[in-house]
Amino acid sequence: MSGPALLEVSGLTKTFPVKTGLLQRAKGELQAVTDVSFGLDRGRTLGVVGESGSGKSTLAKCIVRLYPPTSGRIGFRGADIARMGEGMLRARVREHIQMIFQDPYSSLNPRHTLYSIVEEPLRVHRRLPAEERGYLVDAVLERVGLDPVLRTRRPHEFSGGQRQRIAIARALVLNPDLVIADEPVSALDVSIQAQILTLMQDLQEELGLAYIFISHDLSVVRAIADTVIVLYLGRVMEVAPADRLFACYAHPYTQALLSAVPMVRTDEEERPPRIILAGDQPDAANPPAGCVFHTRCPYARNRCRNEVPSVRQIADQTEGHRIACHFPLSG
């Protein structure tokens, strides 16, 4: 770990105004992401897990700057892009950060051809003269497993898995540093999921990409992530290297998530105690006091109801295991 990280997010917060009534007056605020901090090095993968509504997608959209964050810093290649204007983003940042969306049926323009979709980033950023772009596009298409002969086809002529390959090709054609994948395989069949994940891993090795991989599926994250962030109601619950998180999670919420993963029983692996969370996630516009998880935590005590736990380093010298809990589970 030498030099500054590729991506350095600190204190990232995004609130949306809650508008009601005839005059659309802002009635309150919805904190979709609250005080999230992490770093990501080149060539590494950060997994972000949490239930739907936990702020995963908002976090992603803040980092690609589809949304302006409300506060906090997003350091990317040494510059703070959190408050950068749109013109500056286009000139300096957009080509280095790409995004893969969850639903490949809506992330590709139905009126554009395969070629025009994958070539567009090159055209926008004036990479290569027009007549040379074709070779690069073909090479990228082949690399992601699509036949360049299909270049005049439109998205509806492809299957879900092929469409996600198109989305990957579009994200990779500029050779970015960082790819943010928001649930890239959850809309796909399980057999296709594995293919897409393998493809993404291979590409990471070849191109030195950094991924932010968002998923509600822990087994998928386990397969691909180096570090994992667990989000609940927009707040970081636990951060740890992937293998450590799955072996010695310390947050009750992580435990609950892990216990919900269906798995084939093996003798070596001990199944975590089955914990079924009662109720729904609280309303993000009106979060509970104290630890936001206390309303559903099986171990909640008085302190949890009153005092917000800060994110702190736990355990020994194991680097990077942080947790926001007053009463971490002991190993």
């Binding site: 589809l66 983003l89 790409q98 992330s107 323009n109 554009h112 926008v124």
Partner: protein, 271 residues
């Protein structure tokens, strides 16, 4: 997609036939449209005058053919004005949102508050009567409706993932609107345009009937109705023919708009 679509085919057939007659009038009409056959005034259909003659003894069929030209000219000019201006306003309002949207849409609401014909009369009062000014007036009339349709399409599409993806790639807003959103809104604009065309034909007829639209000697169906109405009991043909032409034209365009909507609904599922 290739399912039978009677609305579309019948509509296209009607409009196509009328368009053919109007086009033919460029090179040939059975009689000169202004030639008065004084000894044949207010006659019924005959082998010489297919749809009879009017009170000046002019051939009604030739004038209906030529009136179709006027109708198509006014309709397409008006729709072109309405489409260009309306789509531009709707696209900007819908894509920009916030106060830009508010500002544009309140102005459109203001325009909608006047009955269309009053609006058109206002434009004609300012610009004066005449064929082009009639088209301009009718075009202005159709702007609010078309801009609303474009706006709702742009609002609906701007939040879609492929538009978001274009933004993350770094595509500029104008290019996003033109290359990414517009092609997906075209279908609803086509429907709106064919409805607007039918409405424009009716408005032109209405304005010309009032004597404010197309001016003589250019034949217009509305004007023909006005001139012939006093002689309806003696010779209904000179009134019925232009009336029937207006009816068929409007019906044809409404059928086309319904047909287009049906055809696009089927494909819409791919979106």
């Amino acid at each position: 997609m290739m399912r039978s679509n009677p609305n579309l085919s019948i509509g296209l057939a009607i409009v196509g036939l009328l368009a053919l007659l109007a086009l033919a009038s460029l090179v040939y009409t059975p009689h000169d449209i202004n030639e008065m056959h004084r000894e044949h005034r207010l006659e019924g259909p005959s082998s010489r005058f297919w749809l009879g003659t009017d009170n000046f003894g002019r051939d009604v069929f030739s004038r209906v053919m030529h009136g179709g030209r006027t109708a198509f000219f006014v309709g397409s000019t008006a729709v072109a004005i309405g489409l260009v201006v309306g789509t531009l306003i709707g696209a900007i309002a819908g894509y920009a949102g916030a106060w830009v949207d508010e500002a544009f849409m309140r102005v459109m609401d203001g325009l909608l508050a006047f009955p269309g014909l009053i609006m058109a009369l206002m434009v004609i009062a300012i610009a004066g009567p005449g064929t082009f000014n009639t088209a301009l007036a009718i075009g202005v009339m159709s702007v609010p409706t078309i801009s609303r349709i474009a706006r709702s399409g742009f609002i609906q599409l701007k939040s879609m993932d492929f538009v978001q993806a274009a933004r993350t790639i770094g595509v500029r807003p104008v290019a996003i609107m033109v290359r990414h959103i517009l092609p997906n809104v075209v279908s609803s604009l086509v429907v709106a345009a064919s409805v607007a065309f039918a409405a424009a034909i009716l408005s032109e007829a209405g304005l010309s009937y009032l004597g404010l639209g197309v001016q003589p000697p250019t034949p217009s169906w509305g004007r023909m109705l006005r001139e012939a109405q006093g002689h309806f009991l003696r010779s209904p043909w000179s009134t019925l023919a232009p009336g029937l032409a207006i009816t068929l034209m409007v019906l044809g365009f409404y059928m086309i708009s319904n047909g287009v909507r049906d055809a696009l609904d089927v494909r819409g599922h791919h979106l």
